[in-house]
Symmetry: C2
Subunit: 377 residues, 2 copies
């Protein structure tokens, strides 16, 4: 089987991690090309494909066909869609199914789906035989620009989101940009929040470009590929510099401390809030809180609000359907988030668009007062 000629539009980003380095391929047609891409890079000839019930009806069959075309034997497991799937019972399902498929050291576990499937499957790959090969085939925008890159994997606990997991890098990431056309507009926008995040962290020009070009990105084509490749490159750079989140990598959590607390407060109910929406509101809150602490201009917070609102993302807690628990409960979730250092909170704050930084001495009382202020009345 010869490899299909790579599309002129296809981009490739390398994540530089010594002997754990890997490529992210980004472009149209990568589901159809997956069998060839995987078989040319992998010694083993078996994979276990984990996916969810939304993705399976559209992409599982073409994906399995592509694998078969590359001479790869595959079994598949279809899980329920949604954040609740990132749980111990499903982790056990995936491990059982991978072990049952007799995946050996050179074979691989494949995640075909959004961030939920990627995080869960990556975790399973990280613990089956204390670490198995792992391929990400992200199908949501969020997964393509964020969760599939960098090796953070995990599940949720009743004590909070992503509190249980491992670092386990993939061996390959295949981001087929065509598949995003079947994503709901709401999910596309949610993923877009993470794209905007890279601009807000340290790329003011990229944020300005997004403000102008976001409609093209939503429509598809070259702007979309460009935005995804820029995002992956941004994430790859941070991951290469700080694989295990001892410092710099924490910047990727811009908007996430608030966001995770809101996800917990809405009980991970995707009808009320999905991850990217929490991040959108969280990024607005982070900019507003920075302004309140006199670190940044309120104009920057307003610019962030305006852009995220324009693309259709929620930008305030009041937009979340249903009622939220008291601000104190939110505060508890924030304190239980991983970014805690002996009583003081670690937050990503900003000095303006593209000027985020890690603040590790944020007084919880200030955050609580701010939250109460912003709380839907």
């Amino acid at each position: 089987m010869t490899e299909a000629p790579s599309s002129p539009a296809r981009r490739s980003v390398r994540v530089d991690l010594g002997d754990r380095s890997y490529d992210i391929l980004i472009g149209p047609g990568l589901i159809a090309a997956a069998g060839a891409e995987i078989s040319s890079r992998m010694k083993g000839r078996r994979v276990a494909v984990i996916t969810d019930e939304h993705v399976a009806p559209i992409y599982l069959e073409p994906f399995m066909r592509s694998l078969a075309g590359g001479g790869i034997q595959a079994v598949s497991l279809v899980l329920p869609a949604g954040e609740k799937t990132k749980s111990f019972p499903h982790l056990m399902d995936v491990c059982d199914s991978v072990l049952g498929a007799r995946i050996e050291r050179n074979d691989a576990v494949v995640a075909l789906g959004g961030g939920v499937i990627g995080d869960l499957t990556g975790f399973a790959a990280g613990i089956v035989r204390r670490g198995s090969r792992f391929i990400q085939v992200p199908t949501s925008l969020l997964a393509q620009v964020d969760s599939s890159v960098g090796g953070k994997t995990g599940i949720n606990s009743r004590h909070g989101k992503n509190l249980i997991g491992v670092f386990h890098q993939p061996d390959l990431v295949l981001a087929d940009t065509d598949v995003l056309d079947t994503l709901s507009p709401r999910e596309f926008a949610a993923g877009y929040a993470e794209v905007a995040k890279y601009g807000l962290i340290d790329k003011p020009e990229f944020f300005a470009w997004l403000e102008k070009n976001w409609r093209d990105i939503f429509a598809g084509g070259d702007a979309r590929i460009e935005a995804i490749a820029t995002s992956c490159q941004a994430k790859a750079d941070v991951v290469a510099a700080d694989e295990r989140e001892n410092g710099l990598r924490a910047l990727l959590n811009l908007g996430h401390t608030f966001g995770h607390a809101l996800e917990a407060a809405t009980e991970y109910d995707s009808r009320r809030l999905v991850h990217g929406e929490g991040v959108s509101i969280g990024m607005v809150l982070a900019h507003q809180f920075s302004a309140r602490m006199n670190l940044a201009s309120p104009d920057d917070a307003r610019r962030v609000e305006a852009h995220l609102g324009e693309v259709g993302l929620p930008i305030s807690m009041a937009q979340i359907p249903g009622s939220l628990p008291p601000a104190e409960t939110l505060m508890d979730a924030i304190a239980q988030d991983k970014k805690v250092k002996s009583g003081k909170l670690t937050f990503i704050l900003t000095r303006g668009i593209g000027q985020s930084f890690v603040a590790d001495d944020v007084p919880p009382s200030e955050v609580l007062a701010f939250l109460k202020d912003k709380y839907p009345k």
Copy 2:
């Protein structure tokens, strides 16, 4: 609080792993000294102690008192005893309890118990917040000389033993040699199988010393401390040379491929077979199989049999109570064990006492024929 003067009998072994190096303290009275030892080495002031229902009634209260004396706040979780506790539901219990105790980055998770508690708790520590500090307080001989050292953690799957886990090194190991006095003679002997293993791998003089001194080791005192320290040093050396079991470390699996298959065949029912007993039979089988393959003299196999039999360990499959499944089923378990490379089996074989080596091209058919031969009629 000043540290108690260290007993003259106390030994210390360092596991050299760069910034993941740690000490193993071995000697009497370490439960009482735990609070002081831990607080002098740890920045955090909270721990979660995981133990089992056999160990808790004897040692939990003195251990908690010792922690309190060292100024350390502790919560505890008591789990059922036995191999079946190494499972997903209990892993989830431990993670929940650690997160519920709000253990932060500088705090620690403590395993107080045998290898089951150590493997399960170490796994939980490895995945809570993608890695938390971990202290081993091994209370069985097996845990003191083997499972508490080296960072292999995990649980069992219905597809086999220890198939799911992570590498997560402890920050400290406290092996109180007094606590072994309450271990049942059967469990003591089972742990002794792993002590003998270090001799059989590459220390023929140590094996000869054991043949002479084993009664003193069983009785307690200096020979026991000496045997444990030598075993820990042997394991520490192998682990330092090959942390992730890419080569040399596989030698520690002497007797384990057969042993794990026998444990699976007896459904991890400790009334029929415990780990060390499986290893004892497995080491005899490994020596017999090596003789059959003309690698070693049958006299060496007979010497291993004689010594392990003398200390009260089972040395043949016929000694396992109840009936075993067909040899083919055992063979399936062997093939599903982690040590598989594209069809060929990786086994630890030997050229004689203390001359073990990794053979990675063992034909499954030879093993099956050998097993059928040795099978209880």
